[in-house]
Subunit: 233 residues, 2 copies
């Protein structure tokens, strides 16, 4: 079965966590909106018995699954990217939902007054929010994952086997480096384990092949991680 991934075609965004899992799993998928435009994606949010609220969503045979962490929960169990026990899967999902929260806070750095307004109309507020984000939130979230890695007893967050949370943390480090190169450079000495994890993921054959392919969309200022020089002081 070939999966169908539905997500905005010009950004990494929330879809990227799903793409990374599919790529690492070596599972064939059609990135529908990139290949065929967004019209069927838009239609699926209007029609059917279980219309998703927003992309990304994944078509897996008859199943239509929305919400990034929910998709990963489903894929993880089927492709060896999650523990086998219920307790292990709930724990992993809990961590992914913590990533979800963090991603929304990343988005809020450039959209503190709301997702419907343009960045240019909320620049001073974005500056304040970004200040708080780096003073309080980044140390709290990344410090949490750093401590989990310290005591994991293996190379990955849950131990000796890679799971989808490791891929997501790779993406967070990549994204923060793109959006806030100066701030991130100053901060990275605080998170040696996360840096190593990042490098370990980047070196995995399937991920490395993906990252250098055209399937990997470049970071840009329509996505979640945006580079605005005035926010990176």
């Amino acid at each position: 079965m070939r999966y169908e991934l539905y997500y905005w075609p010009s950004i990494q965004g929330r879809g990227e966590y799903v793409r990374l899992a599919l790529e690492e799993a070596g599972s064939p998928y059609l990135d529908v909106a990139r290949e065929r435009g967004t019209s069927s994606m838009m239609r699926m949010m209007e029609e059917g018995a279980t219309p998703p609220f927003a992309p990304p969503f994944l078509k897996a045979g008859k199943l239509l699954i929305g919400q990034t962490a929910n998709i990963l929960f489903y894929l993880g169990a089927r492709h060896g990217l999650a523990p086998k026990t219920e307790a292990g899967r709930l724990w992993l999902h809990q961590l992914q939902l913590t990533v979800t929260d963090f991603v929304l806070e990343v988005h809020d750095t450039h959209h503190p007054l709301g997702p419907s307004l343009y960045y240019k109309d909320q620049k001073p507020e974005a500056k304040k929010r970004t200040e708080d984000f780096w003073n309080e939130r980044v140390p709290k979230y990344l410090g949490y994952f750093e401590r989990l890695l310290e005591k994991s007893g293996g190379s990955f967050v849950t131990g000796r086997r890679l799971t989808y949370i490791d891929l997501s943390l790779f993406q967070l480090v990549e994204g923060l480096r793109y959006a806030f190169p100066k701030r991130m450079k100053a901060f990275e000495s605080e998170i040696p384990e996360l840096r190593e994890l990042h490098d370990r993921i980047a070196a995995r054959p399937k991920i490395a092949a993906y990252l250098s392919s055209e399937r990997r969309i470049a970071f840009n200022e329509d996505g979640i991680f945006r580079h605005y020089r005035e926010l990176d002081v």
Copy 2:
């Protein structure tokens, strides 16, 4: 087995979605921080193999489960508050994660510049964010759930059986009525199905008993839904 719920003792907050599910299930639980203070809750976020990032979390025997939607996913399957099929459970969880997103946007109405600053230090920004919230986000989110109810073919979101999403939507309506009574009053004609669902939930014997008990904490200005007159115009 008696569950142990860990959450801040003086607010409804995110813990309330879990409380409503436990109450409807008629499942005994200890609301730990309310009964015994927050020290053990704080300790559990530091220690152990699977420390939660933040409350709420639920101790279920040996399991420790964090993230509201994850807790509901677990409880739903065990207490008849979720469909029996995998497809049904993933769909329900997807909806709950959409509620999670909305709850974070509710919080952002009074904390647009970040969760670490006080409301009094971000009043003008809160006003702008609240404007966008009511113009764009409330119609989008509640309109989505309204349409699901319209075509559910039963009294509840997923059909003829109550699930935890119905309890969560009850809480959203309650919260919006508390925080924004004027705006919500003007808006409610748009969501007749949600209003009816709200009333149906409120009238359920176990929920009615809970709401009139001391276990239900009153809404207040430390929680997610806060009433600030200047934001309710």
